[in-house]
């Protein structure tokens, strides 16, 4: 029966080409606009560590003077708290992070030195975040303790300095020091760059910067603090900074701590641990507040409103636009079905049930949706091509994956069926006698 209705639908659509084209165009444009924005939304609001994000936590304590902040602790830690919590080793894995720009050159190369972002971190960073290596591997915990002059570099820096060859064992000149390369990362592009997300709730929705590329140089935390002293970035300070960029003893928060906790009970234990740490520090007179906060990765991203407000606005608009296209299609389908009142009357008089007429009309609407879906898919590809040409941080990631390809057609057919229900109901209620009289 379905194939017969399908055949009828094709015939009917062919009969009035202009009306059909209008409907297909409306669906295609609506689907193209909404799928383009939906793909970008999907890309920006996804889980950067699928399967393990639930075990990654961001513990925070509060070292600010009394009454300095309302609400919870600041987005990063002061040096002493961060190092205390990290050295306690109470989590399954733990990594400190601090950011800076470092002057990079390769000895023997005639290229001028460049400033590149560097992440000072600890050995657990790489296994905890599942970072892929092309050559070599991470440094060891012994290197962390020994303040070793070693580094892991990104694939793009390796391409730039060493032409993409295996550079493990070679020397890199960072500021005034020579460090040995122990590893080169493979292509790695988490979306967002989750471990550097902070301060999003003060960004007034301008959060596209969270989707940038990972740093080019990774160095053992304490070694990096020596090598690139004077260049470290603070999140914020509550007193006068006397040695900018050397923040170990300054009234500033500038170090992040990420921990991996494999079970809910481990997480509860860790929560209790940081709470007791805060109480102990208050007793020692170093903390004024005992406030702590520990969110898991996805909560932290949510807390920082990572999806840029412009993108959300575009998605809203695209769906309002799809709604308009749907109203349009409903109107046109209604016109189309009712114009065939005579034909439907004959079918009904010959014994077709209302249900059969309804089904036939819906199949026709579905065919419009399918063709519109193909158009919508092409328009989505065009839309994403336009997004990739925009100078925004996430532009290079805007591609249609298989899932969203499926969603395109599902949405197109669902939309057209939805649009078809009302006109099909109307058509199935045609009174055969009245129609036959006018034939």
């Amino acid at each position: 029966m379905f194939t017969y209705y399908f055949d009828l639908a094709l015939r009917s659509l062919k009969r009035n080409k202009v009306l059909t084209a209008l409907m297909v165009l409306a669906i295609a444009v609506g689907i193209g606009a909404s799928m383009t924005t939906l793909t970008v939304m999907h890309l920006l609001s996804g889980d950067p560590l699928p399967g393990r994000s639930g075990h990654i936590y961001y513990p925070q304590v509060d070292a600010t003077p009394a009454g300095y902040t309302k609400g919870g602790p600041l987005d990063m830690l002061d040096y002493r708290s961060a190092v205390d919590l990290w050295s306690a080793r109470r989590a399954d894995r733990q990594a400190l992070i601090a950011g800076s720009d470092v002057k990079v050159s390769a000895p023997g190369s005639n290229q001028p030195p460049v400033m590149r972002p560097m992440l000072a971190t600890t050995a657990d960073f790489f296994p905890m975040f599942d970072v892929p290596f092309r050559y070599g591997s991470s440094w060891t915990t012994a290197d962390d303790a020994a303040r070793a002059r070693v580094a892991v570099i990104s694939a793009s820096l390796n391409d730039r300095l060493f032409g993409g060859r295996n550079s493990v064992g070679r020397t890199l000149h960072l500021k005034d020091s020579d460090v040995r390369i122990v590893g080169v990362l493979d292509a790695w592009r988490p979306s967002p760059l989750f471990y550097d997300v902070r301060g999003g709730r003060f960004a007034q929705g301008q959060t596209a910067g969270f989707y940038g590329k990972p740093e080019d140089v990774f160095m053992p935390f304490f070694g990096a603090l020596e090598v690139n002293a004077g260049n470290f970035w603070q999140f914020t300070c509550w007193g006068k900074v006397t040695t900018p960029g050397r923040l170990q003893n300054q009234p500033c928060v500038w170090v992040g701590l990420w921990v991996q906790l494999e079970s809910a009970s481990r997480a509860a234990d860790y929560r209790a641990f940081i709470a007791s740490y805060a109480r102990e520090q208050k007793a020692l007179g170093r903390f004024a507040e005992t406030r702590v906060r520990m969110m898991h990765l996805m909560q932290w991203l949510d807390f920082n409103h990572v999806v840029p407000s412009d993108v959300k606005l575009q998605t809203w608009l695209a769906f309002a636009f799809l709604a308009i296209c749907l109203f349009n299609t409903i109107g046109l389908l209604l016109a189309k079905f009712l114009r065939r009142g005579g034909e439907i009357g004959v079918r009904r008089a010959l014994g077709a049930s209302r249900r059969a007429v309804f089904a036939q009309c819906l199949v026709e609407a579905g065919v419009v949706g399918l063709v519109g879906g193909i158009g919508g898919w092409l328009l989505t590809l065009a839309g994403l091509w336009l997004v990739r040409r925009q100078p925004v941080e996430y532009a290079d990631m805007a591609h249609l994956d298989l899932g969203m390809f499926g969603v395109t057609f599902a949405l197109a057919i669902a939309a057209s069926l939805l649009a078809g229900v009302l006109p099909a109901l109307r058509a199935s209620r045609v009174t055969p006698a009245l129609q036959l009289k006018t034939l």
Binding site: L22, P113, Q206, T242, P244, L317, G331, R339
Partner: protein, 404 residues
């Protein structure tokens, strides 16, 4: 023109009428809000900077230790001043539309009880305020003795110039000259008022906050280094900029030139509003597609109605109605439906704006947008119904005699 028969006819086609009206209503809501977003982005893009943008450029150096600042600045200034066409080179920590190095919260009392907002501190060496070209409307500009050496983020104590916008915000209706404010323990006294001076990063601030800047005079040193403001004839700017970068690269091979940040202020401004331009372009695209789809919907449905009513039109024509009568009938019908849609659409536009306000810190939709949106949709409706209505008017009276 009799409206009663049109309304009677519309009552027979309630469903289709309501559908078109709803489509118009949604279109009206989106149209008003999209136009409003475009207008607010455009107004942000046209923020008055208060400086001689076309005559200004910046060179940004990094990759050296602050302890070398005296040597690096001396060599860089000498190299830049030797470039033909350069009128002046001075040091300025933050650059309008460029580097941002002086954003901090202030209080209007030493006890830090009265928060004055987050403002931008432009810390500049002698000559930098003149080079910017920012006009002083009250009080005085910096005197040579105001420029003092300092350590740390900013001078501890200074006589400063603030913008009129900041003065109005901190001390509304009061003469700001002689007033004081504090940043942590640092203390500043207002001695001059600037007409306007934009912050480095105007997007992301409200229209008032965009102009909350202060000029702090200071001597170059480890904390005011590597950020140069160049002044040259606007006509020669591209060549001067090329030569300046080459001269610095020759004179200081060991330091790093931040090439992304070293640009003319015109280019930096262009880049600052990149996202707003994209958003405004996107909104224009949405509006165009929206109007097109709505117009196609009206054309489709009106054509259907004309085809359906051929016989009735023929009868009316046979009974003496002129072509004009038929044309006006369809035009009036369209006007009534569109009006219904617009009435609904205005409420919807307002509701959409309230929803957007809560999620995106958008200001309230000014009422002026509603009649503009309405007018656009009326014109659109009349234009799209014209072709089907003309076809209806062309139906000959003889149709009435056939097959009734």
């Amino acid at each position: 023109m009799q409206i009663a028969p049109i309304l009677a006819a519309l009552r027979k086609h309630r469903l289709a009428t309501v559908l078109i009206a709803l489509e118009i209503a949604l279109a009206c809501a989106v149209l008003c809000n999209a136009c409003f977003i475009i207008a607010s982005r455009l107004s942000a893009m046209h923020v008055e900077s208060g400086i001689d943008e076309p005559a200004l450029a910046t060179v940004q150096l990094t990759g050296y230790d602050p302890s070398q600042s005296v040597d690096v600045d001396a060599r860089a200034l000498a190299a830049l001043r030797a470039v033909p066409g350069v009128q002046s080179v001075t040091l300025l920590n933050s650059i309008p539309f460029g580097a941002r190095r002086g954003t901090a919260g202030i209080t209007t009392d030493a006890e830090r009880q009265h928060f004055g907002g987050v403002i931008e501190f432009y810390v500049g060496a002698p000559g930098s305020l003149d080079a910017l070209g920012s006009r002083i409307v009250a009080g005085r500009g910096p005197r040579p003795e105001d420029f003092q050496p300092f350590t740390g983020f900013m001078p501890n104590e200074a006589n400063v110039q603030i913008t009129q916008a900041l003065a109005d915000h901190l001390w509304p209706g009061v003469d700001p000259l002689g007033k004081e404010f504090w940043m942590l323990k640092s203390h500043y006294r207002v001695v001059g008022v600037l007409k306007t001076l934009v912050r480095p990063d105007p997007p992301g601030w409200t229209p008032q906050e965009r102009l909350w800047s202060v000029f702090v005079p200071a001597q170059p040193g480890p904390y005011l280094t590597g950020s140069y403001l160049l002044r040259a004839d606007p006509k020669e700017m591209p060549r001067v900029m090329r030569d300046a970068l080459a001269a610095v690269a020759r004179a200081l091979p060991e330091v790093v030139i931040d090439r992304d940040a070293s640009q003319t202020l015109t280019d930096l401004r262009h880049e600052t509003f990149r996202n707003d331009r994209i958003m405004a372009g996107l909104m224009l695209g949405v509006i165009a597609a929206l109007l097109l789809v709505t117009a196609l919907g009206i054309v489709g449905l009106a054509s259907f109605w004309v085809a359906q009513r051929r016989k009735q039109i023929g009868v009316r024509r046979a009974l003496g109605a002129t072509r004009g009568d038929i044309l006006r009938y369809f035009q009036t019908e369209n006007f009534l439906i569109v009006s219904l849609g617009i009435a609904l659409g205005m409420l919807l536009a307002y509701a959409l704006n309230v929803a957007l306000m809560q999620v995106y810190e958008l200001p309230r939709l000014p009422l002026a947008y509603l009649p503009v949106g309405a007018l656009a949709l009326w014109v659109l409706g009349q234009l799209s119904v014209l072709a089907p209505a003309l076809r209806a008017a062309a139906v000959p009276p003889v149709v009435a005699t056939r097959s009734v």
